[in-house]
Amino acid sequence: MQFQGTVEINAPRDRVWAFLMDPDRVGSCGPGVESIEVVDAEHFKARAKVGIGFISARFNVDMTIAERTEPERAVIKAHGQAPGSAVDATANMALSGPGEGPTTMDWSADVTISGTLASVGARMIEGTANKMIGQTFDCIRTKLEAGG
């Protein structure tokens, strides 16, 4: 599944970049995230509970910052597993705009969902995923614009 979008954040570009590269801060905006563990500068792990319709699963997700060009562009790869389900994703984001803000973030994500979640929740995945992505960016923008 392909997702993409653009978010305007009323904050300086380096603050946006710093927020997005901080697993603890950006992780706090991920829906259902229960814990974040930083392995090293490129790798971190998250534990998140995701529900689609009547199915919910607790995912263990390994994330890797595969590419980063500060403060413009990053590629993040994620591989998550839950009992009977799995998710593999590659997310691209590009920041642009004047250094003092507002910052424009163009993002895209290629998400593959496998197993029970795909099989049983197929008709609801796209809507749920869109909602969850929307919530995540709302959270990021709100926190940054509030000075977080």
Binding site: N60, Q81, A82, P83, G84, S85, A86, D88, T112, I113, S114, G115, T116, L117, A118, S119, V120, A122, R123
Partner: protein, 789 residues
């Protein structure tokens, strides 16, 4: 041609032709059937299965430590554990092999990866969530055409370097050169591409088992939902090394089989291993999603067919090329010489001079299969293709589809009829069956109504299907499964007081064997059917048999029952001669008694003779009145029928409603008319299902998108029209009772009638073919493209 032959026995005896109420129903309708779920043994534990989220992936590691620490958990079994005993792969009935549990690679989404055994069902279900499997996804092959491309990933490297591709087998039948020549000499060649989608039998009862190995006696009791208990016992013995005498397979009542309970599933083998390991009974029952996602599928044939025609509508030849998607293993349950089943019966009800059929099978990342879902080995695929194709051919030459069929049917006087692909049809009268169906539905009036509606912009269609089935496998010179010849058996013991027990090698899954087979004994011996107990499904007591599928019970075990009854009748004749002090040659058999020819008042009833067999048999004669018969049919039987269906299509939504459906069936002589009608009603509903609702689609990553009854749609009573059934009777000339078998006719015959009706409703818009299922969305899309909706 009568509606039903008149019974020759009284209602009390209830031989053939009596609609005796089913003897098994009192326990079913009171909820007192005994299904696998009802088997509860002392000290029994539960198994649940960890399944793969990926359709193709490497297993990097399996961490079961958290699961093993959970309350009640006794063991976790993985492929590596089975590998030590050489049990990680098992043979399939089709001569391929499939994984019991994978050692390093998973091949389809929902494949078994590990098993957890715990004290309770809930503990096992909780613990599978705590088995952590680390996967590395691999490229997925979903499309069987892409699977055969040179650069496709090789899914089964275990087959060795000489088979470094995804091609499983090629099979062909008929004369290629003669067919090519016949088509080349035809005025026209009409092609069609038909996809018969992957579907599931979706029986009410899912699969399950209780494996009960007693380490003290060295004995395995295996309770299982199987359509073929004896074959299971032999396979288990061959794979495990346990002597067959120390294995008892017991089936209990079965809540629907339809072919899905023929294969041996990995869960069965793991349960046996778990019981051998723990020395306790182990129960495993799959849930609905596991059943839909992992059990053997049916169909999944991509067919390209071409029909040669003269301008006057005479068929000259048929050429068929097919690709079969078998998933990652060929786990079909076809007779071993027939990897594509009896698909080459595709010439159907038509007198086609030349035919050539070829089938290639491919591996993909899907569950292994496929089974024949309520059809005799791929006959549904064959009938759907030919019945769609003759409709299209009629359209091309400008003939009415009924008239086109009448012109090309095999005539009654051509039977026995040898087909160009090698079958010998036993008997048939296709013209009469179609005429009867057309009259019952009022065909000519419907065509007028259709024309009027079309003028008003309404969408109405009429569809015909005139199918020929091929059932009753089979003659042992041609048919075997893993080398075991496809005979079947009956053992009959008549007790001193005149009642009897009949044991069979076949297996009821709801068909009413306890009634039907008792009625055969009643017909042949005059023992009231109510006094004949029928027992199946316990390998310790039943004679060896191949089981029930492909409508083979009445053609094969029914014949065995007739023959074994006649053996007993013959022994009773000698008892009667002794009691009546006459020569056996002077006796004649009428209505359950042997009487002296010319002196009808001097007779002995079967009850008197049974008593004498134990109390007053002549010196030198063996006591008792029992016999066994292993029946090897001389040929298959060929039931047939003509179905006519009327559909209305909603222009706004694309929804298809079946307004009327007339089914004229000919299954030869009928044993219990009520049971035959019940079989036809069920079969028609199971033919409606794939026509309008059922399909298991996969996404590009190999995820099964119909894993629950939310997405895998079954018709309920609300969607099912009022079926109108009728019969013609053309007895089988070689079956002892003239019977042919009926269990699958309607499931085979109904889908093309519905598909033809939908195409007919849209034909004036230029629609020439649509693949099933004809869902509202699919029909609406066509209407939208044509500017109607």
């Amino acid at each position: 041609m009568t509606e039903a032959q008149a019974p020759t026995t009284t209602a009390e005896v209830a031989g053939m032709g009596h609609s005796m109420k089913r003897k098994e129903d009192p326990r079913f309708i009171r909820g007192q059937g005994e299904y696998i779920e009802d088997v509860v043994l002392p000290n029994m534990v539960w198994m649940d299965i960890v399944r793969s989220p990926y359709a193709h992936a490497t297993i990097k590691s399996i961490d079961a430590s958290e699961a093993l620490a959970m309350p009640g958990v006794l063991a976790v079994i993985t492929g590596k554990d089975l590998e030590k005993a050489g049990l990680h792969w098992m043979p399939t009935l089709a001569g391929d092999k499939q994984m019991v549990l994978p050692v390093d690679t998973v091949m389809y989404q929902a494949q078994e990866v590990a098993a957890v055994i715990a004290e309770t069902r809930y503990q096992a279900a909780d613990a599978i969530q705590a088995v952590y499997v680390d996967y590395e996804p691999l490229p997925v092959v979903v499309d069987p055409f892409k699977a055969l491309e040179p650069d496709a990933p090789v899914l089964r490297p275990d087959r060795g370097p000489e088979k470094a591709n995804n091609h499983i087998w090629h099979w062909e039948s008929g004369d290629r050169a003669a067919t090519d020549a016949a088509l080349a000499a035809s005025d026209r060649v009409v092609p069609i591409d038909v996809y018969i989608p992957r579907i599931h039998v979706a029986s009410i009862e899912t699969c399950g088992c209780v494996a009960d190995f007693d380490p003290v006696r060295g004995h395995l009791d295996f309770h299982v939902t199987s359509q073929a208990a004896h074959v299971y016992r032999t396979v288990i013995s061959l794979v495990s090394g346990i002597p067959e005498s120390s294995i008892r397979v017991k089936t209990h009542d079965i809540g629907g089989g339809f072919g899905g309970k023929v294969p041996v599933y990995p869960g069965y083998v793991i349960s046996i291993v778990a019981s051998l390991t723990l020395g306790r009974p182990v129960k495993w029952i799959e849930d609905r999603s596991e059943n839909l996602q992992a059990d053997s599928f049916a169909r999944d044939y991509h067919v390209h067919a071409e029909l040669g025609l003269q301008n006057d509508g005479t068929i000259t030849g048929l050429r068929v090329k097919t690709l079969a998607d078998h998933g990652y293993s060929d786990a079909a349950a076809d007779p071993s010489k027939f990897p594509a089943g009896l698909f080459n019966v595709i010439t159907g009800s038509y007198d086609i001079p030349q035919a050539f059929v070829e089938v290639d099978a491919a591996y993909t990342n899907k569950p292994p299969g496929g089974v024949a879902y309520r059809c005799s080995f791929r006959v549904t695929e064959a009938v759907h293709t030919i019945e769609r194709l003759v409709d299209e051919a009629a359209r091309v030459v400008g003939m009415d589809p009924a008239a086109f069929r009448m012109k090309n049917f095999i005539r009654k006087d051509q039977f026995p009829y040898h087909t160009p692909t090698g079958w010998d049809y036993d008997s048939g009268d296709y013209h009469t069956a179609l005429r009867k169906a057309l009259d019952l539905i009022g065909y000519d009036e419907l065509r007028k109504e259709q024309a009027e509606k079309r003028a008003r912009g309404e969408l109405m269609g009429i569809g015909i299907s005139s199918f020929t089935e091929i059932v009753g496998a089979g003659p042992s010179h041609t048919f075997d499964i893993i080398g075991i010849k496809m005979f079947d058996s009956a053992e009959l013991r008549v007790h001193p007081t005149g009642s009897a027990i009949l044991r069979l090698g076949v297996q009821s899954q709801g068909q009413g064997h306890e009634t039907t087979f008792a009625q055969i004994v009643a017909e042949e011996l005059g023992i009231p059917a109510s006094k004949v107990k029928v027992e199946e499904g316990d390998t310790d007591t039943a004679p060896y048999g191949l089981g029930t599928y492909a409508s083979r019970s009445t053609p094969v075990a029914g014949a065995a029952t007739a023959v074994v009854s006649r053996k007993i009748r013959e022994k009773a004749r000698h008892l009667a001669a002794h009691l009546l002090e006459c020569s056996a040659d002077d006796l004649e058999w009428t209505n359950g008694k042997w009487s002296v020819r010319g002196s009808p008042d001097r007779f002995k009833t079967i009850a008197e003779l049974a008593f004498a067999a134990y109390t007053n048999h002549p010196q030198g004669m063996e006591a008792g009145l029992e016999a066994v018969d292993y029946y090897d049919p001389p040929n298959l039987t060929f039931p047939f029928g003509s179905y006519v269906c009327v559909v209305d299509i909603d222009k706004g939504t694309g929804q298809v409603s079946v307004r009327r459906f007339v089914a004229v069936d000919d299954c030869g002589n009928i044993i219990n008319p009520m049971i035959v009608d019940g079989q036809i009603h069920g079969g028609l509903t199971m033919g409606l299902a794939p026509s309008l609702y059922e399909e298991i689609p996969y996404d590009e990553n190999g995820n099964n998108l119909a894993g629950t009854f939310m997405d895998y749609l079954l018709p309920t009573a609300l969607e099912t029209p009022a079926w109108e059934t009728a019969k013609t009777i053309t007895p089988s000339p070689h079956h002892p009772l003239g019977a042919k078998g009926v269990g699958e006719s309607a499931t085979v015959g109904a889908p093309p009638a519905i598909a033809n009706a939908v195409v007919d409703a849209l034909s004036h818009l230029g629609v020439t073919h649509m693949d099933i299922p004809l869902t509202p969305h699919k029909v609406w899309r066509v209407l939208h493209e044509k500017g109607v909706a």
